[in-house]
């Protein structure tokens, strides 16, 4: 039975209609002619997880643990298991993910295919740095067990699902004594102060990130809260709860405007008195503050939203990021979900991995085209000039030339493509006539 289904990515900009495969067991081969693309939980923001008119392989039922060694913390599992399910399994045993993005609602396969990063990038690198092995099923029916050192593994980590179907993977977990973190919040104003705190934290704090107000201008330009945490010795090994709240419907477009966002940001910035505040926080609110509300992307309403995530390299200094922040503040288009973080110099394992040493900014923009895209074009210019780049997992509109010029290993990557795999993102990046 081949059914078709409409798929969305997290930004809900353009749905894709595709034939559906939803294997309950790791398949021996892929039926049909393709093109194929794996789809986990659809948390990629743009179109890298969509393949309109193709065959999309839902992996979320492939969720079984294959092996766990409680002595070494090595976990092998099928690729559709969620990070949330891994945590519910391993936290009570005193183990945690080696690194985690800002949501646990993604699959293991998706974490590898996008080579996701987290608050401890400066010490742990990317998710792919902790993959010990993975199994790949190609459209020709061949199966490959890939280990570090294998160039096909380097192509598959961060390879956006284009090298075949990741069916299972083995990762190294890290030991924890408590499910809680000792956390310190520090207010800062401006990028220079952010850089100072960041530099002084990287040695002693395992996890660092900052929330930045991208709406405030004038004296408040670049104000934010620096968040740093380290695993605590105090507290139990309790796991997170599943979300109780769901955003009930797609909110009307006017809910999020300059004034509501500004009000929210001011409240958030003023949520504690004084310069710093210390907390003893469970990992769920620390790493996954938004996982408490199911389908929060509905707050952006029917038109959907973009996320713009770029990195500006260390060599370029802070000037480009200052320009970017100024431009965004002047546009008044940003929403409240803005994140700033410095990437460390742990080499990224994937040919198309996004992180490189420097500063990364990620923030959401309600879709109000053409104004939103026009702003992005201006930001692109700054990123291009300083040899930074954009994150494909978040992208819905990147210029194909920028992609090929800022991912220097793209040509080597292409030799590992599975010719029957594709995605809307990939089609956009490789079609001959690309609009800018």
């Amino acid at each position: 039975m081949t059914a078709t289904k409409t798929f969305h990515s997290w930004g809900k900009l353009r749905p894709a209609t595709a034939k559906l495969l939803a294997p309950a067991w790791i398949p021996n081969d892929l039926p049909g002619t393709g093109p194929f693309l794996a789809y986990g939980l659809g948390r990629s923001y743009g179109d890298s997880c969509l393949l309109d008119g193709g065959t999309m392989i839902e992996t979320r039922f492939l969720d079984r643990i294959q092996h766990f060694d409680p002595q070494t913390g090595i976990l092998r599992a099928e690729s559709g298991i969620t990070l949330a399910a891994i945590l519910r399994f391993c936290v009570p045993k005193g183990w945690f993910l080696p690194t985690t993005p800002g949501t646990s609602q993604i699959t293991l396969g998706g974490a590898i295919a996008n080579d996701v990063h987290g608050k401890n990038h400066h010490s742990a690198g990317c998710f792919g740095n902790h993959v010990r092995m993975l199994d790949l099923l190609r459209s020709d029916g061949s199966r490959h067990t890939l280990r570090p050192g294998d160039p096909m593994l380097a192509a598959t980590i961060g390879g956006l699902g284009l090298t075949g179907l990741i069916t299972s993977a083995e990762i190294q977990l890290v030991p924890i004594r408590s499910a809680h973190l000792d956390v310190e919040l520090t207010r800062f104003c401006g990028l220079d102060e952010f850089m100072e705190i960041s530099a002084s934290s990287s040695e002693t704090w395992e996890h660092t990130v900052a929330w930045i107000d991208c709406v405030a201008s004038g004296n408040s330009l670049g104000r934010g809260i620096f968040i740093r945490g380290k695993w605590s010795d105090r507290g139990d090994l309790s796991t997170h709860r599943t979300a109780r709240l769901t955003a009930p419907f797609e909110m009307p477009g006017f809910t999020l405007n300059r004034f509501t966002v500004q009000a929210f940001n001011t409240l958030y910035y003023r949520r504690f008195l004084g310069k710093t505040k210390t907390l003893h926080q469970h990992y769920a609110p620390f790493f996954y503050p938004l996982d408490g509300v199911n389908e929060w992307n509905r707050i952006y309403g029917k038109p959907g939203f973009y996320q713009y995530q770029c990195v500006t390299p260390t060599a370029a200094g802070t000037e480009p990021m200052k320009q970017i922040l100024t431009k965004i503040a002047a546009s008044g288009q940003a929403s409240f979900l803005a994140v700033l973080k410095t990437f460390g110099d742990v080499p990224s394992p994937g040919m198309l991995s996004f992180p490189q040493p420097g500063i990364t900014l990620a923030l959401d923009f309600p879709q109000r085209d053409p104004a939103t895209r026009d702003l992005f074009l201006q930001l692109d210019e700054i990123v291009r000039a300083c040899h930074g780049r954009l994150y494909p997992a978040k992208d819905a509109r990147m210029n194909a030339r920028d992609f090929s010029q800022t991912y220097p290993q793209l040509e080597s990557f292409k030799s590992f493509l599975d010719t029957k795999f594709s995605s809307d993102f990939w089609k956009r990046m490789t079609s001959a006539t690309t609009p800018s």
């Binding site: 039975m1 059914a3 289904k5 559906l20 939803a22 294997p23 309950a24 067991w25 790791i26 839902e58 039922f61 079984r64 643990i65 294959q66 092996h67 766990f68 099928e78 399994f89």
Partner: protein, 250 residues
């Protein structure tokens, strides 16, 4: 008895709701499980998942449609050394209604896998429980069995049959206070079996339904709706006059 692991045999251990039921069980109890199914590879992958979660698992490959297989002998032999706490019957298949109706052979096969086979196994299991005078027999029915509806009455009628069969057995064994017979009735659940259906607000996750199945197995009511609010919905659907029902596409 108290230090003895919870001893259970599961027919059709590879169904999604069943896997979640066993995961919930393994979270709370020391368990010793016998997983019975048709596909050795699938059984082994479920067994490995449950072993990682602390359960002791053995697997048994058996075809439930073949009366000559040896599961009954193995269950009976096992009961002598270590009585069963739970015998759980979970296999089933959701056919495509229209194509199956036009093909008598596959229609018969669907009725067989969803009614005849679980009924035959349930009858044998009840005898084992009576002999050891202890234990719970739990069988997955479905809310689909509560009223014949145009969209899925092949599956529904077989599940209705199982529901009636179990109700009759409860009556027959009502003097055996230490034996419980439970009909588990999941509502619409997000599993590979329903992956092609559009998901409305009535769908529950397999994890939620599995966790509630485990609760129901422990408290052992005669019939458990999963989640509980399906009882309310199905009561409404049952009392809906045919003249109204026939105007819907349910």
């Amino acid at each position: 008895m108290s230090t003895r692991p919870y001893h259970a045999a599961i027919f059709g251990a590879t169904s999604a709701i069943c896997i979640e039921t066993l995961r919930a069980m393994a979270r709370e109890k020391t368990t010793k499980l016998l997983l019975i199914g048709r596909h050795p590879g699938r059984l082994e992958s479920v067994a490995n998942d449950l072993r990682s979660r602390g359960a002791e698992c053995t697997t048994l490959v058996a075809d439930f449609l073949d009366p000559k297989t040896n599961w009954l002998q193995i269950l009976t032999d096992n009961a002598q050394s270590d009585p069963w706490d739970l015998l759980l019957i979970a296999h089933g298949s959701l056919p495509d209604q229209d194509t199956t109706l036009r093909d008598p052979e596959s229609l018969a096969a669907e009725l067989h896998i969803n009614f005849t086979s679980p009924a035959v196994i349930a009858a044998a299991c009840a005898q084992i429980l009576v002999k050891q005078n202890h234990g719970t027999l739990a069988v997955f029915g479905s809310v689909a069995g509560d009223r014949g509806r145009g969209s899925n009455f092949i599956y529904g009628s077989a599940k209705a049959g199982i529901d009636t069969f179990l109700a009759g057995m409860r009556h027959q064994f009502s003097q055996h206070r230490k034996i419980k017979i439970v009909t588990l009735k999941p509502g619409m659940t997000d599993t590979p079996m329903t992956s092609h259906l559009p998901k409305g607000p009535l769908f529950s996750s397999a994890e939620a339904v599995g966790t509630q199945s485990w609760r129901a197995i422990q408290s052992a009511p005669p019939v458990a709706y999963l989640p509980g609010w399906w009882k309310f919905i199905m009561t409404l659907i049952r009392i809906l006059p045919s003249s109204l029902l026939h105007r819907t596409k349910l």
